[in-house]
Amino acid sequence: MTLLEARNLARHYTTIAGVVPALDGVSLEIHEGEVVALVGQSGSGKSTLLNLLGGLDRPTSGELLFRGRNLATLNGPELARYRRCDVGMVFQSFNLIPHRPAMDNVVLPMLFESTPKAERKRRAAELLESVGLTKRASHRPAELSGGEQQRVAIARSLANQPSMLLADEPTGNLDSRTAEEILQLLLSLNRDHGKTLVLITHDEHVAGVANRRIRLKDGKVVSE
């Protein structure tokens, strides 16, 4: 079943130097439960595409359908709700809030969902346990290793039980052993919980474990 469908998706950035066609007519489908690797050279438009898929940005033209619904028709709060509940995002640089403990970082998406306080705490503790960080719940990001930070970020991405995880080079800042642990964690979420996984990677090994790889070049899909 098709979860996400992009039709002739384009994103042009207007800069003082002129218009940059970061994404230029991309069409693709992502099916529920699959693992898709987005590959391509630096500057090919992978992050731009992922941000559009995650509802962080709006396309210049083209359509993006989530479960058949065009995201372009959503207003600001509706798109925020999509980001909050349908997608979980994981970044290369973790993007945790530095002055808040791991627990609060995991709670954050549930704050915006107005989840009751007790429920938030309970669920955040559960998520931290599932990524093996119960002991680190009250630690701030600076007190955690890179791998631990990325685990917190993954726990956070799962807070509102999204059907899809979007990861932008999730292992890019980690040593190979830790990278493998994080990769296995993400794959287990796909395998055990049916989360659809779209991840950007430069790593051939990571790309190798995906069901499918989509290669971008100069803002266009060059191969699937």
Binding site: R83, N95, L111, K117
Partner: protein, 471 residues
């Protein structure tokens, strides 16, 4: 996002930048302190004035006089829209008593008295005081003695200066003593013309004048020849009066200016009647009715309407109500000026908050991007920053009020040292009424939220993809 969570998060964020929050809050509290200090000074001054004037009965009294339409006073002509001039007699006083809002009406009874004791004497105008006026500040706060026992007792209240003139270095020694009073009329004669008793026209209104060392016995009534016209000899009646008390200050009341002696009302009135009975030819020089009357009202609010009604009855009125309303207008302007000066501090605090919040937005751009990426709406971000500035405003308001209170105490203390040294009563120059506390808090929070509007809007509009782009 729920409001309590927004505020909690706002608090946490402020705690993150403690020094900056503290400094900004201090800026706000100085602004609030200045504003509250200025306004409470205005309120304190006004309250003092009001309390004094209200206590003195100034607001609730007016003087009524008969109107003389033969003069060209335009005010009289304007007032002459009701009846023509009327005699201020008992019938008229009864009519005035029936006007709604009037508490009581008393005719002016004045006698010229010479007071003598132990071979020394002094003269002054005496005013008849009804027992209701015993509550007035001038009597209630007498330093020596007490008010009259009854309205027809042979008693008198003098003032401390007169006690000294009568040779009492310690004024308290005079209280309870009996003085010899000679009731006469005002004489404009020279001081040494003691034997020349041929007086001028008697005047019941004017004060001053009189003779030193006048005779203490009453001139026998039979001694005055009953020739209509200029009296040959000045009539006098003597009476012994017990000194009940001594006033320290003059009665702050219309129409009593210059009075230094106070007599019980009924007693004074009886003596005045007797005086005219004994010397009937004086009646010829006396205009019909009373020369004036004092009208006491229940409330100062009615002054205007009662004045109007009395004017249409055909009498002239004098009240300081109009002067007071002028004064109130002045106070509004003074208050506004003080508030304006105080507001300068708040304007500076406004800029301080805006600066702090803009800095916070810049500093937390990435954090805002993260929050948006995990599902924050623009509105959530806006509320988050507004809550932070509102919290700064609330804290600044509380601290500012505490500062203002301390400042008020210190200024009061300092000013009262001076005031007491001047021999005056302690005053509360600073007054922070409840409405001012509420208004200051509200204003502080309001100004802070306004100062946070622009930064909050900037935060809400941050593009998450840009915010998250680089490390």
């Amino acid at each position: 996002m729920k409001m309590p969570d927004v505020i909690e998060l706002g608090f946490d964020n402020l705690r993150q930048a403690r020094l900056r929050t503290l400094l900004t809050t201090m800026g706000v509290s100085i602004g609030v302190c200045a504003l509250v200090g200025m306004v409470s000074l205005g309120a304190g001054l006004q309250d003092n004035l009001n309390a004094r004037l209200l206590h003195s009965g100034f607001f609730q009294t007016m003087m009524v006089f008969p109107r003389f339409d033969n003069n060209n006073n335009p005010a009289d002509r304007v007032a002459n829209q009701g009846q023509g001039p009327r005699i201020l007699d008992d019938t008229a006083l009864t009519a005035i008593r029936q006007i709604p809002g009037v508490a009581r009406v008393e005719p002016d009874v004045r006698l010229f008295l010479q007071i003598a004791i132990n071979g020394k004497d002094a003269q002054a105008m005496a005013v008849a005081v009804p027992k209701e006026d015993g509550e007035e500040a001038a009597f209630a706060e007498m330093p020596f003695g007490k008010f009259f026992d009854s309205e027809d007792a042979d008693e008198v209240i003098l003032n401390t200066q007169m006690a000294k003139d009568l040779g009492f270095a310690n004024p308290n020694d005079l209280v309870g003593k009996t003085v010899h009073a000679t009731i006469g009329v005002t004489r404009q004669q020279g001081r040494n013309a003691a034997s020349a008793r041929g007086g001028r026209l008697p005047s019941f209104m004017g004060g001053g004048g009189g003779e030193k060392g006048a005779k203490r016995e009453a001139a026998p009534p039979a001694a005055s020849p009953a020739i209509p016209g200029i009296p040959q000899q000045l009539p006098e009646i003597a009476v012994d009066l017990k000194v009940m008390g001594l006033t320290a200050r003059e009665r702050a009341m219309l129409g009593n200016v210059g009075a230094q002696i106070y007599l019980p009302f009924a007693m004074a009135q009886a003596h005045q009647e007797k005086f005219f009975q004994d010397f009937p030819m004086l009646q010829l020089f006396r205009p019909p009715g009373y020369q004036g009357a004092t009208v006491h009202l229940h409330s100062a609010r009615d002054v205007e309407s009662v004045e109007k009604t009395i004017n249409t009855l055909g009498f002239r009125t004098i009240s300081i109500a109009s002067a007071i309303s002028q004064l109130k207008r002045v106070f509004v302007i003074v208050d506004m000026l003080l508030a304006f000066v105080g507001s300068i501090g708040m304007a500076v605090a406004f800029l301080g908050i805006t600066n702090t919040m803009v800095m916070a937005v810049l500093e937390r751009t990435r954090e805002i991007g993260v929050m948006k990426a995990v599902g924050a709406e623009d509105q959530d971000i806006r509320w988050l920053f507004l809550s932070e500035s509102a919290v700064i405003g609330a804290m600044g308001g509380v601290i500012g009020l505490i500062f203002a209170w301390i400042l008020g105490r210190v200024v009061n203390f300092g000013a009262n040292i001076y005031i007491v040294r001047q021999g005056l009563q302690k005053e509360n120059l600073f007054l922070i009424p409840l409405w001012l506390i509420a208004a200051a808090m509200g204003f502080s929070i309001f100004v802070s939220i306004c100062a946070g509007l622009y930064p909050a809007d900037r935060a809400a509009r941050i593009d998450p993809t840009r915010a998250l782009r680089h490390d």
